[in-house]
């Protein structure tokens, strides 16, 4: 079920009414949340609810065993088994096709035909998100950073919590799980914030990202293009993916707030970053901190010398790229950011003390670097990456540059204006500081635009495929 669908509006209205009914019973609330979350997930393909349930039960059991009076070796073996099983499920559904194609390509290069018929495996929506969430829970229990959950319905509801199930934020057990085991409070401030986040998030998706998509398609397709077209298309994609993904996160956080829950912040003005390190502290924060805590630090982080630090950065960022999907362009995107972070690290170690880069220059360099990264991310093949990169040398503007730029300005303006406002006030909830009627004017206008562009066939969020 998509947030930007009428199905979801009906679903949420019914659910919210039932949620009010169960307010006196914690167990009933968790039961209702669990049922609703499985309905929400099963709406897409009910068969994969079995997968979700199986992995959740598996991690619940492993965590209980790890938290028990087992020896250190046994605990280590249990956590390794849990992580391996989770990654196997992820690998099977997400990377087997990629692996099969790779092997077939290698065989073809050797002049041989593969003797098997490749399996056509459907990627379950959100599998990367809930797998990482489960892994973090088991590892946190292993590290004694939290006790294992002993309330099965609460744990199942935590893993399947519908606002963030399919595209995050990737919640940590120690942040979200306790909210399933204690009473929550729904306040007027929470509702106001929730309503704002839902409206703004849907606006970013339905009005901005979905209208940027055809502009991006105009550039990223197998046809000859030119430098200005590539730049315009890449800027459009940067805004599209931000509008799409941060829009999803906003709706998720807003829906959760209406229920009394608090989800992690996932975006913090990412395009205001003045260094690549800063960018990764602001973009998809729940993934970048996950990778830092469960991959980069265990590999040694920056504590084992310069060479090892660079190696760790390379490994984590390439895997971060691969997390997005089994395709070479994601690997390249990860590698590109790894190179950028290495350069960033080198600069900080060797030069930053002597030569301070002005913030404007830092922003320009970071934005340019991130934009080329988005080109790698959006491209559909290596050939296209080469063609688009080569096109940057041709400065002939496309015939349609005027309407394209016009659309880009109209669609980008709300995002840029909001970021400027949030930046200047230092508050991500800046609109909530408005008086009742100015805020109503803003929210009413957003609602009208949503009404205009609401369609029966909602377009999926980009990050659903990951």
């Amino acid at each position: 079920m998509l947030f930007n669908s009428t199905d979801f509006l009906v679903f949420f209205a019914l659910f919210y009414a039932a949620y009010a009914v169960v307010r006196r019973h914690l167990a009933a609330r968790n039961g209702l949340l669990l049922l609703a979350s499985y309905v929400f997930y099963g709406w897409w393909d009910y068969r994969f609810t079995a997968l979700l349930l199986t992995t959740s039960l598996m991690d619940f059991t492993f965590a209980r065993a790890i938290d028990g009076p087992a020896s250190a070796g046994r605990r280590r073996a249990l956590v390794a088994a849990s992580v391996t099983l989770n990654l196997t499920v992820l690998g099977l559904f997400k990377y087997l096709n990629f692996f099969q194609e790779g092997v077939a390509a290698v065989l073809a290069a050797c002049g041989r035909e593969p003797h098997w018929r490749p399996w056509a495996i459907i990627l379950p929506v959100g599998v990367s998100f809930y797998t990482f969430q489960s892994i973090s829970y088991v590892v946190d229990v292993y590290r004694r950073q939290m006790p294992a959950c002993r309330n099965l319905p609460a744990f199942l509801a935590y893993v399947a919590f519908f606002p963030q199930l399919v595209a995050g934020p990737i919640e940590r057990g120690r942040h979200l799980l306790p909210q399933f085991t204690r009473p929550l409070v729904i306040t007027r401030a929470g509702l106001e914030s929730g309503l704002w986040l839902i409206l703004w998030g849907l606006f970013k998706k339905v009005a901005v990202a979905d209208h940027l998509a055809p502009l991006v398609d105009l550039v990223f397709r197998p046809a000859t293009t030119t430098g200005p077209a590539v730049i315009l298309g890449t800027v459009a994609f940067a805004l599209q993916i931000y509008g799409d993904f941060s829009g999803y996160t906003d709706v998720a956080r807003g829906v959760a707030q209406c229920l009394g829950f608090e989800l992690l912040l996932n975006f913090n003005l990412p395009y205001c970053a003045t260094s690549l390190r800063d960018f990764w502290n602001r973009w998809h924060i729940s993934l970048s901190t996950w990778i830092r805590d469960y991959l980069y630090f265990p590999l040694g982080g920056s504590r084992r010398g310069t060479g090892r630090t660079y190696l760790n950065l390379a490994v984590t960022m390439v895997l971060c790229g691969l997390w997005h999907g089994a395709a070479f362009n994601f690997v390249l995107w990860g590698a590109w950011h790894a190179v950028g972070l290495m350069a960033n690290h080198y600069w900080r170690e060797r030069w930053a003390a002597r030569w301070r880069v002005p913030a404007g220059m830092g922003w320009l360099l970071t934005t340019g670097f991130v934009l080329y990264g988005w080109l790698l991310f959006r491209a559909q093949s290596l050939e296209q990456i080469i063609a688009l990169t080569g096109a940057l040398a041709n400065w002939t503007p496309p015939t349609w540059w005027r309407p394209f730029t016009g659309n880009l300005l109209v669609l980008g303006l709300p995002l840029v204006a909001m970021q400027c406002w949030q930046w200047r006030t230092g508050r991500l909830d800046a609109p909530l500081t408005l008086g009742r009627w100015p805020r109503a004017l803003l929210q009413g206008a957003l609602l009208v635009v949503l009404i205009a562009y609401w369609t029966a066939e909602a377009s999926p969020f980009i990050y659903f495929q990951f």
Binding site: V22, R29, V185, I186, R188, P214, L218, N407, G444
Partner: protein, 340 residues
């Protein structure tokens, strides 16, 4: 254990939701009022290339225009003749307008748009040029859906309204989207032609600037299965041709031709076969002139990606057409025409 607690009173719920809903309601009511009082702006040209073309040509047939030569036909005429170049190359530079449409429509539709222009500009048109591709002549046929789409747009243009300006649901979503917000956002083209123009507004602008003519920007690619050019005449075209003729206003001279095919698909004797087709068709149409001096085939390099002529091929065919029409004199059609 208690699950959750609502620390809100009824008036808090109202304070959270009511102002936003009220503002939205007022905006929707205002839009409805604008529609009722006919103060909503008309929707800009939008949608796919085909519909944008239909909107443009339906509008162009009714606008004040000095054209004395009107071209009609399928997309091979739309993209095969440059109306501005044709004017420039003819003696006296009479104004030409390309009102060609697409292959999926029938001859009476081509005749209809000519008739509309001629009745909107009484006594102005001296010469009508009907051009179609060899495939259209050989196969005839048309798409009912496309004819229906054209009729709807044409009827709306005749009534001075936009085909999409009518219905909207109870929220007035279509008015918001098409009449208001569409003016802020250009509509990107999604089908064929998107790579050339990008946006419906650009396609519309190109059509206006080029007097209704289009061009294929691509490069010719040989089809996998090469077929010989079908220089035959579909019997089903006979009633359509007579209907077309009935729509040509008195005093307008009708010139008829076939656009060329790719040389790689040609065969010896193509020109003779093409001329035979033209003679038979000219009889059905009671054409004043058959354009037999147009090339039956042109080099592949003069074709674009979509199977239409590219800019070089279009310049070539337009030049040949100008030579064919030149004997009509400074005011094409005014002088005594040669007989077929």
């Amino acid at each position: 254990m208690r699950s959750h607690e609502y620390q809100l009173r009824t008036r808090d719920w109202a304070a959270v939701f009511a102002p936003t809903l009220l503002v939205a309601l007022l905006i929707l009511v205002a839009v409805r009022a604008l529609h009722t009082t006919h103060h909503l702006p008309a929707p800009p040209p939008a949608l796919d290339p085909e519909t944008t073309l239909f909107h443009h040509q339906a509008r162009a047939a009714r606008q004040r225009d000095p054209a004395t030569i009107v071209l009609v036909g399928d997309s091979t005429a739309l993209m095969g003749v440059d109306a501005r170049q044709l004017s420039d190359e003819l003696p006296g530079q009479p104004s030409a307008l390309n009102l060609s449409l697409i292959v999926g429509l029938d001859l009476p539709t081509y005749g209809g748009i000519l008739h509309t222009f001629a009745t909107t500009h009484p006594g102005q048109v001296h010469c009508a040029v009907l051009l179609v591709g060899p495939q259209k002549a050989a196969l005839g046929g048309h798409s009912t859906d496309e004819i229906e789409a054209w009729r709807e747009i044409d009827a709306a243009a005749a009534a001075g309204r936009d085909a999409r300006a009518g219905g909207a649901d109870w929220l007035g979503r279509a008015w918001l989207r098409d009449n208001l917000l569409a003016h802020l956002l250009n509509t990107p083209l999604r089908l064929n032609g998107a790579e050339n123009f990008g946006f419906a507004s650009e396609l519309d602008r190109h059509l206006t600037e080029h007097r209704g003519s289009l061009v294929d920007f691509g490069t010719f690619a040989l089809p996998r299965q090469r077929q010989r050019l079908p220089f035959t005449l579909a019997p089903g075209l006979e009633p359509e041709s007579r209907e077309f003729r009935a729509l040509v206003p008195p005093g307008v001279r009708l010139c008829v031709g076939l656009t060329p095919g790719a040389r790689s698909a040609g065969a010896p004797g193509d020109r003779e076969r093409r001329d035979a087709v033209l003679r038979a068709w000219g009889e059905w149409l009671r054409a004043e002139r058959l354009l037999t001096n147009l090339p039956a085939t042109v080099p592949d390099a003069e074709f674009g990606a979509s199977g239409h002529l590219n800019s070089r091929g279009r310049a070539h065919l337009t030049h040949e057409l100008a030579r064919e029409l030149a004997p009509f004199g400074p005011s094409v059609g005014a002088a005594s025409p040669p007989t077929p």
